[in-house]
Symmetry: C2
Subunit: 413 residues, 2 copies
């Protein structure tokens, strides 16, 4: 029997130093949203800011807002704000494009620094776009670059003279397992290998210390724990020491040393700006900045402490209330190895998640059989964990997954 009855959880919520953040978001009454790791909730400040950008900056200022409303410096400005969440310096992070595109930039930049090596290494089961972007580079290289993925536990053994760059995700999208960034980076560097870290499930979720780990490159998305809105622009980190030599293959005009000189020849900008490519989507950028500003107000140590506690509470309650229903914990039980989501495998996971959504609990289904529950400390209460688990129990008791509406999986889950 767990100690987490409703009174105990509500006591935790009363003492929660982050409790005030919940009111900073728009959240539908009665909903338990355990998917902030797929799409973060809407900060209340975002809508007024979007109105300002559209009506005043675009509508009134028109083209002059590129300078007058500082649109042109937004990628760097928001990048510097994100840098503070990642243990990076100002000028080491810039907001641009999507995570996929930034993976391409980071991997090709790393390859340009290791011209005598040919392998991009990653792990099987990494988030698909990471693997796919590697494969695209390899295909285009005409055999010069090889994309190789090995089982996660074999990655460090595979490091060697042929490997130019290692691409890993710090917090695994499905299992929530956290990689030891400092240790992996150290081992890679010993082998002369550069590392690209995918931080999509890290930024705003766990403390990240890129420079403390000696990281080379990193990428991540803005729409999960940073609450930047659907398809928010992504970011890329390039360690200051690499910037002068790392050549971006995606050499668009916004990354030029003098974009408005309209020269015929590409000259990369001196610093992180060379990782820009085209014109950034300003409306989506403005929403991202609102989410990042809000996250910057939270103490990351408190965020991590609450995230871990939410995870412990959730797993304890699952043991207590749903232990008989055939769930297999996919995520690590040990705090140090777990990010900010908890996943279970279950034979009826697809239908179960649909039934849960109808009951006001939103999480993710991940192929083939994983239920993923994101635990976002700025929006969730400890008591929400009990609400969610009781709904899961109800679905199991009634076998509500067994509904003809869910016989065919939607292509998008």
């Amino acid at each position: 029997m767990s100690a987490w009855n409703r009174a105990a959880l509500e006591a935790l919520d009363r003492d929660d130093p982050l409790a005030g953040f919940r009111d900073q978001f728009y959240l539908r009454e009665g909903l338990v949203y355990l998917d902030g790791n797929s799409l973060g909730a809407l900060p209340r400040r975002t809508m007024p800011r979007l109105e300002q950008v559209a009506a005043q900056e675009w509508g009134e200022g028109l083209i002059t807002s590129w300078l007058g409303a500082e649109w042109i410096t937004a990628p760097r400005r928001v990048g510097d704000k994100i840098a503070r969440l990642l243990g990076a310096e100002p000028g080491e992070v810039i907001v641009a494009d999507s995570t996929s595109i930034n993976l391409f930039k980071a991997l090709t930049a790393a390859l340009s620094l290791r011209p005598d090596r040919s392998v991009i290494l990653s792990e099987t089961g990494n988030f698909p776009t990471d693997l796919y972007m590697m494969q695209g580079i390899s295909a285009f290289s005409g055999g010069r670059v090889r994309a190789e993925a090995v089982a996660g536990e074999e990655v460090l053994e595979r490091l060697g003279d042929a490997v130019a760059v290692l691409l890993l995700t710090q917090v695994h999208y499905k299992t929530g397992v956290v990689r030891d960034m400092a240790e992996v980076t150290r081992r890679a560097h010993e082998a002369g290998v550069l590392v690209v870290w995918d931080l999509s499930h890290s930024a705003g979720a766990i403390p990240v210390d890129l420079n403390g780990a000696g990281a080379d490159f990193a990428v991540g998305c803005g729409y999960k724990f940073l609450n930047g809105g659907p398809g928010a622009p992504a970011y890329i980190f390039a360690a200051g020491r690499h910037q002068a030599a790392a050549m971006p293959v995606l050499s668009g005009w916004m990354g030029h040393a003098a974009p408005f000189a309209f020269e015929d020849g590409y000259r990369a900008a001196d610093g992180i700006e060379r990782f820009l490519c085209g014109t950034p989507p300003i409306l989506s950028m403005a929403a991202l900045e609102c989410g990042v500003d809000l996250m910057a107000e939270a103490d990351m140590a408190a965020v991590r402490a609450k995230s871990l506690q939410l995870g412990r509470v959730f797993m304890d309650l699952m043991d207590e209330h749903c232990g008989a229903f055939g769930f297999a914990l996919v995520s690590p039980r040990e705090d140090a190895r777990r990010g900010s989501h908890v996943s279970y495998a279950h034979p009826h996971s697809y239908g179960m998640m649909q039934a849960l959504k109808e009951r006001g609990v939103i999480g993710d289904f991940r192929d083939p059989d994983v239920l993923r529950f994101g635990l976002t400390p700025l929006t969730l209460r400890h008591a929400d964990m009990l609400e969610a688990v009781l709904k899961i129990r109800d679905v199991c008791e009634t076998q509500a997954w067994d509904d003809p509406r869910w016989a065919v999986r939607a292509a998008v889950t």
Copy 2:
């Protein structure tokens, strides 16, 4: 003496079949905005739609809106709408990324169809990002691909067995010169060369007939004549006949045949979806759709007729009122060769444009000495041409360009 006195121009405005569109935009009183070819004006319908997307679809629907609010199909849905403006079929255009990124996709796709050829050809003075993206591909190819730019009038002579793909802009960003898409494409195909057309200054500005011209690939931006908002997502066209064989190097998860199967290996989607890469910015996408919907309500023949007339009126008035002040017309006077902007060279063009902005006339300065005036038929009145030219005359008569505030050019113009 031109026939364009105020009464005559106001008579044209009364008879203008497109006059009603002006009220569909937010336009500041007293402003003559001749820069809709850099950033289109704000459609009145956009702000309410943004509120709906943010507050309802994101705020209420959260992650379920990817399906429930049809975010996931937005790139294709808006692409199909743009296709109608370009003489393309549904399924040949998709909205994604920036123009620069789409140039990379189109050029590498074309290269994949011409594996035995090595040159990407373009013209000097093309829009810089077009040339820069070519150069990045060449640098990464390790000598396999060569980027070559020759003077515009020599492009067709240079076609030959070595050339894989020709990259040209249909309407030149600086001069407004229109290329004959059908003739150039025909000549290129005779030499076995594929063509990528940059339509950034074409879509919504002049009638475009991609399939009529037998075009192979095209790209363009959403924030100019399509009024999609600052940094609106761009689009890419791939002729149906090429889609099955053209491999996108930027092989992100959104272009996978089954993105949510989370497979380790990339399998390109069957159709135009393979030209997607990462997750699209939904807020900026929604604004783009509003602009495209509005443009789709206009008759393109009427748009072209008014655009040309605005150009003739503007040039006649410049002759009449500013003929003595040293302007050199950069754009073609012949209708058939001119797009929807008119440019002049002038030794004091930078300071002149700053002085004009202070007087409520907004155009562009383009390095080194060009004043560019965009003529957007949905928002401009014929009488605005007289307003603008009288302000230009005033600046010339007072030599208002000679102001210490403009002694140093801003980096962004």
